[in-house]
Each structure stands twice: as structure tokens, then as C-alpha cells.
């Protein structure tokens, strides 16, 4: 299955300039246009190149460990009132769906003859994945990370350094993910000849949103077939958490054409959208331009980006990929916020019922599913089948979760 991860796409595509309806496109300095065009060309060529597809497929299988399992979570299902099938991206190498994107872009980097990759990271997951691929492909690797994040994610900083990457703490602006992304863009403008900017989600200027989606869409292709094999039919709903949007698009894409399958993206509601302390760009933001694309953005009345808040570092971003903005506009997918507390309750429920510690990001998808199940059951008049993208594992979150639940032994 994974050997076909780049088979021609049946689902919706942006126009040739990367517009998804009124969203997407390129809002970048002219200096970057040549590099984006080069990347666009390399990606389009790769998509139809048998040798690229074979190489990518082999890496996904032999290195990343995909196809990931579709696991029927029976004890969790019983608590939730739905037949819940977990797409186990947490079992991939490096612990999340992100490895798929990173391997695809690292292969492209080699093809373009570039020798250096740069990345932005919030919690450090994408940074670790990029450092991993850079080690595997013998590329120089520089990761930009907000200083606030380098301090609260010290272990991931060490992990990246073990893998040979240089981690640069970003000390300007709000010192978080959005500022790390700004700094990576500045590096890219200055070093674009030998450098590829390996963006970690389905956001940024064209071709990143469509390209990243294509590299992670194996999640949905696999899950759709696995669900057919396991249940004899398609699910009633597919759910995922939405930060920048890569894991959600990865699992949605294969189902977009299946009209009966409802698609749900769960955004980080933080303390609650009404409090203003959240990261729900679609539910609580408005259309604007950020980091090279037109999409939903958390912004003030003057278009200044607002700081986002979430217990989940991977969802703590004030924008979202433009394809989600478009799926929201067209009504094909539904986007709802999940608060920190709701996510942590679902986190605990999965730990206790299934012996699986999810990433806090993925716990947002679980919490959304818990809320969705009874509504869907009432609407359908039967137990619904729901495929949940378990985008990552919770090892990285043990400290945050331990703190949240108050179960860390006090430091002496």
C-alpha cells in the first residue's frame, strides 16, 4: 500500500497557483518565488516519477514503519458509544505522522541538489523529525525554535542535537512557533540557493500546502482500505486534530469524495474560544494573510497576529493550512474547538481504557470524538463507526500531562 503513496490523486486540487477557493496562494518576498517555482516543479515531476515513488514508498515502509495499524479500540468504544477505530500514526518512527512529510521533502531536497535543510518547530516534534531525516540523508540541518519553547521542551532540543542538528533559539517577537517560522523564512531568503525550507505542516506559500498534503495522504489511503477490510464499509465519520492541518488533511483526503463520510477537524480551544486564550483559527479567527498564504488567522482589528494558547504545543499556532479554510468554506468538513480540559480528559480515558498514551494534540481528536459520538448515534439511529487519526504518541508530553494531573513527585 505505501509503495503507492504518491499514486495520482483523485480528490480536490488547488489551481495551478495554489489557490483553494479564496485561500492559499503566495504572499512572499519576490526573492523566494524562484525557489518556490523550483520546488513546485520538482514536486510535480516527482509525483509522476516511478523511481521517486518507489523510493518514497520503500522509506515509508522500511524506515517509518507504515502502513500504520488501524486498531479497533473496544474498551474506549464502549465508554464513548461508538465503534472507534484508531489510525495508529503514533507507532511510526519518531512517534507521529510528521515523519511522512519529512521523508518526502528530504528526498525532494536531495533531488534538487540542495545540501541544507532548515525547519521551524514548536514543541520540537517537527524539529526532531527533520533532524532525523537530515541524519539519514546526510544533510546539514538548522532548526529554529522560539526561546520560550527551547526552555519548556529541553529534552527535544537535546534530541535534535544528538541527531546532529543545530538548534537556534529565536528571541524576537513572542518567542514561540510563529516567530520561529519568521526566522526560518529570513534564513531561507538569505540562503535559498543551497537550502530547502522544510515546512512542518500543510501551511505556508504554494506549493507547500498541496505538497505536504500529498506526502501525508497515505494516512487516509491506508485507513480507508483498512476500514473497508475490517468493517466491510466506510466509516460514518473521520476525525483529526488541526494545528497547521497536516495530519487532518492526510486522513481526510481519501474520504473527501465519499459524501456519506463526515469529516471533523478539532482545533485547540485552549481555555475556551470565548476567553480569547485559544488556538482555534477557523472557529475563532478571521480571513487574513500569514506566513505566505491566505487563510484563517488569529488577528486583531489592524491585522496584527495574536498569540495563540493551547496546552498542546503542536496545535499552538495562530494560523491553519489554506485547504482547511477552503473545506470549511465549502462545508465539506466541520471544524470545532476542544478545550485543554476536554482534551486532557480524553487523554486520560485513552490511557486507562486502552493502555495507549496519546500525544496531547491527538487527544483533541479523541475529545472531539467523545462529544461527537452521541450526536451521530442519535442522528443515525445506530452506533456510528468513527475513524480517529491518532497522530502521535505522548512520550513527549509526559511532563506536561504529569503536571496537569498533579502526579509528578515534588522536586526536593
Amino acid at each position: 500500500m505505501s509503495a503507492d503513496a504518491l499514486a495520482p490523486v483523485a480528490g480536490p486540487q488547488p489551481d495551478s497557483a495554489g489557490h483553494f477557493g479564496r485561500f492559499g496562494g503566495r504572499f512572499v518576498p519576490e526573492a523566494l518565488v524562484a525557489a518556490l517555482d523550483e520546488l513546485d516543479g520538482a514536486w510535480r515531476t516527482a509525483m509522476t516519477d516511478e523511481s521517486f515513488r518507489a523510493e518514497f514508498g520503500a522509506l515509508l515502509r522500511d524506515y517509518a514503519g507504515t502502513p500504520s495499524l488501524l486498531y479497533e479500540a473496544r474498551r474506549f468504544s464502549a465508554k464513548v458509544g461508538a465503534r472507534v477505530l484508531l489510525k495508529r500514526e503514533d507507532l511510526n518512527h519518531t512517534g507521529a505522522h510528521k515523519v511522512r512529510n519529512v521523508l518526502g521533502q528530504a528526498l525532494l531536497t536531495k533531488r534538487m541538489g540542495k545540501t541544507r535543510v532548515i525547519a521551524e518547530t514548536g514543541a520540537g516534534q517537527h524539529g526532531v523529525a527533520t533532524a532525523t531525516a537530515a541524519a539519514l540523508f546526510d544533510l546539514e540541518c538548522v532548526v529554529y525554535m522560539g526561546q520560550v519553547d527551547t526552555e519548556r521542551q529541553a529534552l527535544n532540543v537535546a534530541r535534535m542535537r544528538m541527531l546532529g542538528a543545530t538548534v537556534i533559539p529565536v528571541t524576537n517577537g513572542s518567542r514561540t512557533l510563529k516567530d520561529a517560522m519568521n526566522e526560518a523564512m529570513r534564513d531561507w531568503v538569505a540562503n535559498v540557493d543551497e537550502t530547502h525550507y522544510l515546512i512542518g505542516t500543510a501551511a505556508g506559500p504554494h506549493p507547500f500546502p498541496a505538497m505536504v498534503r500529498d506526502f501525508v495522504r497515505g494516512i487516509g489511503d491506508e485507513a480507508r482500505q483498512q476500514c473497508l477490510d475490517l468493517t466491510g464499509g466506510l466509516p460514518d465519520a473521520v476525525t483529526a486534530c488541526v494545528g497547521g492541518g497536516s495530519n487532518a488533511l492526510g486522513i481526510f483526503h481519501a474520504f473527501v469524495g465519499d459524501e456519506a463520510v463526515r469529516l471533523y477537524g478539532f482545533e485547540a480551544g485552549g481555555d475556551g474560544v470565548a476567553t480569547g486564550r485559544h488556538a482555534a483559527s477557523i472557529t475563532g479567527g478571521s480571513a487574513g494573510v500569514l506566513h505566505g498564504t491566505r487563510t484563517f488567522v488569529l488577528q486583531d482589528a489592524d491585522g496584527q497576529t495574536l498569540e495563540s494558547h493551547s496546552i498542546s504545543a503542536g496545535l499552538d499556532y495562530p494560523g491553519v493550512g489554506p485547504e482547511h479554510a477552503w473545506l470549511h468554506d465549502t462545508g465539506r468538513a466541520n471544524y470545532l474547538p476542544v478545550t485543554d480540559d476536554e482534551a486532557m480528559a480524553a487523554f486520560e480515558l485513552l490511557c486507562r481504557t486502552e493502555g495507549i498514551i496519546p500525544a496531547i494534540e491527538s487527544a483533541h481528536a479523541l475529545a472531539g470524538t467523545v462529544a461527537l459520538a452521541p450526536k451521530l448515534a442519535a442522528e443515525l439511529g445506530r452506533e456510528p463507526t468513527i475513524v480517529v487519526n491518532l497522530s502521535g504518541r505522548g512520550d513527549k508530553d509526559v511532563h506536561t500531562a504529569g503536571d496537569y494531573f498533579g502526579i509528578l513527585d515534588k522536586e526536593r
Binding site: 497557483a17 496562494g25 503566495r26 504572499f27 512572499v28 518576498p29 519576490e30 526573492a31 523566494l32 518565488v33 524562484a34 525557489a35 524576537n172 517577537g173 510563529k178 516567530d179 519568521n182 523564512m185 529570513r186 531568503v189 538569505a190 540562503n191 535559498v192 540557493d193 487574513g288 494573510v289 500569514l290 506566513h291 505566505g292 488567522v297 488577528q299 482589528a301 489592524d302 491585522g303 496584527q304 497576529t305
Partner: protein
Amino acid sequence: MSRIGVAFDKARADGRALLVGCMPAGFPTVEGSIAAMTAMVEAGVDVIEVEIPYSDPVMDGPVIQRASDIALAGGVRTADTMRIIEAVAATGAPVVTMTYWNPVERYGVDVFARDLASAGGTGLITPDLIPDEADEWLAASDAHGLDRTFLVSPSSTDARLAMTVQHCRGFVYATAVMGVTGARARTSDAAPTLVSRARAVTDLPIGVGLGVGTGAQAGTVAGYADGVIVGSALVRCVLDAPTEADGLAALRTLSAELAEGVRNPTR
């Protein structure tokens, strides 16, 4: 012809380049930025480029980032920028505005163009808006008689260069280096080539920016370009000064040095 065009023509007739000096609106305060820009004009800067502070300025280096952060922390609003433009335009110097795209889109593109024109602004420099995405701005700038300055870069292909200058009005901004704003020890080798490539496809005046910080560098750039654009070095005068008066004095000194530079082109 636009007011900027007239200013460029006059400088060309005098055998010199035009000096464009950039300052973020509201830095260090609204009144302070008006005082700074006025001092620049008095000391010989021909055209003032007012930058609208933005939370995520990806084309700017550390100096302008810091100045923008200070302006935003002080609470400057887009509406204040209009007031600043009006005050500086009253000095008689043409005022061009540089802005990232989201603040304009949020204000409303046509309303922004209308207010900018009535404040006396000549047009916009748009560092993250390329003509490919600019339909709304093309229409609004036509409707309100504003200039459009898009950027060209050493990495622009011939086809993009031709397309981009075709959409410009007033002047073209050539980014001298592959990089962000910030004064550099050496001016760029790529810039003269870029300017001559642009000249092959347009009669519009060409301003060169990114990296110019001294009178000597201004003279070098004046040797091949129609305009010399200076930002970070001027901003730093205010940023590094212990008091506002010291900042203004440093600004006057550097402005005068740069004005001397553009009058002594090195060829």
C-alpha cells in the same frame, strides 16, 4: 506623472540619485516618529518611506524588527500611520508607504487606498505582495491614483522581472542582496547586475535597498541606481540613542552624510 516620478526626474537632472529614508510609523512614539521623519527631511532625505509596523515582518532584520515591536507595544494603529503620513507629507517631501499585506487587507484594500491618498501618500511598497496576487491592489491603486512599487530580486527570472516592472508605477525597488533589511559592511555585487537587467525592461526609475548604511555606500549605489533606499542604519540612530534629542541629532548627521553620498556617485 506621479510625485515620486517628478522627484526622481529632478534628481536625475541634477546628476544625482534620490535619497529615500525609511522609518517605522509610531517608533518610538507617534509624535517621536513624526519628529524623526521631519528631521530626516530637513537634513536632506528626499523621500520618506513610512513602514507600517507589523507583528511578523519576514523581510526585516533585527533592527527594524525591534523598532516595529516598540511601535506596536506603544499601541500604534494603522489609523495613526495615516496621521503620520499626513504630517510628514506637509513638509513637502513625497511620502511612500511600505507595508506587509495583512494590515492592508484587514483595513480593507480600497478604503486603505482612499485614506492613504487623502493623507497625501504617494503609493505603496509591498514586500510580501507579488503582482500575481495583487488584483485588488491594482484596482484600488488605479482608482485612487497611487503608485505601486513591487520588489525585484537577484533571483527573479527575466520573465518575472519583466512582468513585475510592468505592474509597477512610480519606481521599482531592487533588493540588492538575497536577504533581509539591515546595514551591511559591504554593498552588494549582485545589485548592479540586477539594476541593468531591470533597465532593459523598464524606463521607470530604480531604487536600490537592503544593506546601505554609510555615505560612501550611498555614493556607490548612486553610481548605478536612480534611488538609494536606507532603513536600518537610520532606525538604529534612534534605537541606540540614550535620549530622543540624541537620536534626532544622530539622524540628522547620518541623513546629511547620506545626502552628500547620493550627490557624489562613484562610477
